[in-house]
């Protein structure tokens, strides 16, 4: 996103609207720190500028990733899903990605106010890959990997910044403890916030094997209210 310096009148109306807080005043003009801007277009869409000074021109690869990941209206061409580009695990009733004996894991990087760069995702995905996880094919981050076996992201995307992005993968439940331990370790090298979400299929008696493992590891957890349940007929044989 850019501000046309010929049009800006320094009224400061836009400053509170930037989710990343990267519009500031300099030399009697509003300027955007373009390196920190994630091209989410919130400033433009707010229509708060009284002189229409915001200019957005779709950027070439790899900067184009910023808008695709950060503007909830923009669709990822790989997955045809907008926003962070994935169905996420909460629709397992429909997608049937995770069967008994398997764990689904997601790492959500970045939030408004901080965002994330892909080098943070790269650090984590490489660690996950070492433990033999299977990356979710219908996730745009997976499309950014140069090698799904090593989890290495393409070199040119590493410095791109987005509002938020999710790594998704799955693995047999036997690997759960070692993977969680590895995540705790790599987290120390990550420059943003990320949250970890896990899913597993309930046993026929209604119990969740993961709960026991999490308790054994002393990891606090709570059942996410976003779980979409009972939305029609299960399409997947899980």
């Amino acid at each position: 996103m850019k501000i046309d310096p010929e049009l800006c009148i320094a009224c400061e109306a836009c400053l509170p609207y930037c989710p990343m807080g990267v519009i500031s005043m300099k030399d009697d003009m509003a300027i955007i720190d373009e390196d920190e801007c994630v091209d989410c277009s919130v400033c433009l869409k707010s229509k708060v500028c009284p002189v229409d000074a915001f200019v957005f021109e779709p950027a070439p690869w790899p900067r184009s990733l910023r808008n695709t990941f950060s503007d909830p209206r923009t669709e990822h061409k790989e997955t045809r899903i907008a926003g962070r580009g994935t169905e996420e695990m909460k629709t397992n009733d429909v997608t049937g990605r995770f069967k008994r004996g398997w764990v689904g894991l997601g790492c959500e990087f970045g939030r408004p106010g901080i965002g994330t760069r892909f080098h943070d995702l790269d650090k984590v995905s490489q660690v996950l890959a070492k433990h033999g996880v299977i990356f979710e094919p219908k996730n745009p981050v997976t499309f950014l990997m140069e090698n799904k076996k090593t989890g290495k992201l393409k070199e040119e995307v590493l410095n791109e910044k987005v509002l938020s992005a999710i790594i998704e993968c799955m693995f047999p439940i036997g690997k759960f403890k070692e993977i969680m331990a590895a995540l705790k370790e790599v987290a120390k090298k990550v420059d943003t916030v990320f949250s970890v979400e896990v899913i597993n299929r309930a046993e026929p008696n209604g119990s969740y094997p993961l709960l026991k493992l999490l308790d054994e590891m002393g990891i606090p957890h709570y059942i996410n209210g976003k779980q979409n349940v009972g939305l029609g007929r299960p399409l997947a044989n899980v």
Binding site: I9, A10, C11, E12, A13, K47, V48, P50
Partner: protein, 612 residues
């Protein structure tokens, strides 16, 4: 020339001719632009004896020396013409973008004369201006006209500013206005009817590239910031953050919210109309005017009640007052709908609501019956009947044709007791959306104003500069006359610069700094204050030539009646009226019998020649 394009666009509709006229620096310095410049053209070109609908009447639409600069509030336009309600001078303003785009297109103002044989609209763009066929636009409302013109010319959203008349203007309803940029209005004194008489449907200005030059651009930037800070803090930032509807509860508490045609001052539902409640409740969307960071105005979708999902502009305070309490109506969603219907039809919400409120009172008291009103049951708060009546007025159908002449004319035609229930002044204009029995200064202002609407009324930032009584008792007749007379010119300066009051708050000193930063004139504060007073006196001289007499400067019986309840019921203004007027005239330096500025007043203002 700095701060100006140095040009006025002249349009002769009779001959379909357009030409550029040079605007020299001396003239601009004398009038600053806007209302001042328009007054000059009105006096020079329009014989006061002509009727407002005569093709020889002019329609002036202009910006001022700050127009299109970074100073907020300077996308506003001022219109000057011989108005249809008073058949005297009209000066009325609209916010939005047009003022800035007009100057970027290369003109400080447009002066339209003559009448076109067929409907036209005026299109301004980077390379000049042209008249275009508007036959397909006839019958369209003001929003539809804006959309249709943008589509025809290939502009989107704020890439073009369009101001148009609606069906009411086409039918020369006496209180039709000019509406644009999604519901901004120059609505007073029937200027829309003047455009209707000329068959000019709209003005459309493309957002061209600014070639304006200002002497001290960094200083302009600094003053822009100062102006914004002033607007942010004025009155605790209520209007800046929440719009004018923020004042509805306070207006009721102080007894100046108009309720049921002045029959009461009690409106228990006042809090429902509070901007701080309505904005978060109804879905609101930013829609700023050119160059202004204020959230004075937004677009809005109703989210509850019978008019859920209705989309339009957010009503201003005066529209909430008009389509809520004044017609005894309690649903804010319905008020949003009626505000937009009135805007789209192209009528002034003030006069329209005095008309509807009067009809409702007549209906309640049996002076008008269902059969007189084309089958409409005009009970208090009847929203759908109000909508239908507004359409009848705009299209001059049935009794609507009588009401289209304005509330004074309709009341006098009906006669009897009902004639006493209407709210107006002797000149034929009517107040803004208040109960002025709680705002004496503004009742005096409405009665003496030579613009057909608000002229002065002590709304100033620096009270000492304008010699406001301190402390001011707003119900003391002496204080009222002094406040109104002493602040003469303050609002007029804003209307000459054509700067929105909700950004400038008539901060004259900052305005003078801005004029100098824009033009390099080094003009003094005294000189600028004198320009304001000079324009007021010129408008007066013109109106006297139009047939104004001091006995017409009176509120109607209901307008100045005694409140029956509320906080002001023991504060009647009528017993003080004549004495207040005597003092006002004295302070203005006007002859009490003829209304004419006295020779020494004319001399002081340097306008002896123009009084002849």
């Amino acid at each position: 020339m700095y701060g100006s394009t140095g040009k006025v666009l002249r349009v002769d509709l009779t001959q379909g001719k357009l030409w550029d006229e040079a605007l020299d620096e001396a003239t601009l310095r004398k009038y600053l632009g806007g209302t001042g410049l328009g007054t000059k053209y009105l006096m020079e070109l329009v014989d006061p004896k002509l009727n407002w609908s005569d093709p020889k009447n002019i329609f002036f639409l202009g910006s001022g020396v700050l127009g299109g600069s970074r100073i907020p509030g300077c996308g506003t336009i001022s219109v000057v013409t011989k108005g249809a309600l008073t058949n005297g001078a009209a000066s009325t303003q609209a916010n939005g973008n047009f003022g800035a785009y007009l100057k970027w297109c290369g003109y400080d103002a447009i002066v339209v004369q003559g009448a076109s044989p067929t409907w036209k609209y005026l299109y301004l763009h980077e390379g000049g201006a042209e008249l275009r066929d508007a036959s397909k636009l006839v019958g369209k409302d003001t929003w539809e006209t804006e959309d249709a013109i943008k589509e025809e010319l290939g502009y989107k959203e704020r890439g073009m500013s369009v101001f148009s008349i609606g069906p009411a203007g086409e039918k020369m309803v006496r209180f039709a206005g000019l509406f644009g940029d999604r519901g901004h209005a120059a609505a007073h004194n029937g200027i829309g009817a003047v455009l209707g008489s000329k068959k000019l449907k709209a003005f459309a200005a493309a957002r061209a590239t600014s070639k304006l030059q200002f002497v001290d651009a960094p200083k302009i930037g600094e003053l822009a910031k100062k102006t914004t800070e002033g607007a942010k803090s004025f009155g605790g930032g209520g209007v800046f953050n929440w719009g004018t509807s923020r004042v509805v509860p306070g207006a009721e508490a102080a007894g100046w919210l108009p309720v049921k045609n002045y029959l009461t001052n009690v409106f228990p539902e006042k809090d429902l109309f509070d901007g701080q409640r309505v904005r978060p409740l109804f879905q609101s969307q930013n829609y700023p005017c050119y160059g202004c960071a204020s959230h004075h105005y937004e677009l809005m979708t109703v989210t509850e009640g019978p008019y859920k999902d209705f989309f339009g502009k957010e009503p201003e305070y005066e529209q909430w007052a008009a389509w809520g309490p004044q017609i005894g109506q309690k649903d804010p969603g319905a008020a949003v709908m009626l505000s937009n219907v009135c805007d789209r039809l192209g009528m002034d919400c003030n006069e329209a609501s005095w008309v509807v409120g009067w009809v409702m009172e007549c209906y309640e008291k049996g002076a008008l019956k269902k059969k007189d009103l084309d089958g409409l049951e005009m009970t208090w708060g009847n929203v759908e009947a109000t909508r239908a009546l507004l359409e009848n007025i705009a299209k001059r159908r049935g009794y609507g044709n009588t009401l289209a002449e304005g509330v004074k004319s309709a009341a006098q035609k009906l006669g009897g007791e009902a004639a006493k229930w209407a709210i107006f002044t002797g000149k034929g204009n009517s107040p803004r959306g208040h109960d002025h029995r709680g705002r004496w200064v503004e009742m005096l202002d409405t009665a003496i104003s030579d613009t057909g609407t608000l002229q002065t009324q002590m709304l100033v930032m620096n009270k000492a500069l304008w010699k406001m009584p301190n402390p001011m008792d707003i119900f003391n007749p002496d204080h009222v006359a002094q406040a109104e007379a002493n602040s003469t010119g303050s609002m007029t300066i804003s209307d000459c610069l054509v700067q929105c009051w909700f950004t400038s708050f008539n901060d004259t000193e900052t305005q003078v700094e801005a004029i100098n930063a824009a033009t390099g004139w080094n003009i003094s504060l005294e000189e600028v204050m004198k320009i304001g007073r000079r324009v007021v006196n010129l408008l007066r001289i013109y109106n006297l030539k139009c047939g104004l007499t001091p006995d017409k400067e009176k509120p109607s019986p209901r307008y100045c009646s005694q409140s029956v309840d509320g906080p002001n019921k023991d504060k009647p203004i009528a017993p003080h009226w004549e004495k207040m007027m005597d003092q006002y005239y004295k302070l203005m330096g006007w002859d009490r019998k003829t209304g004419m500025p006295l020779p020494k007043t004319l001399k002081e203002l340097g306008i002896e020649d123009l009084a002849k």
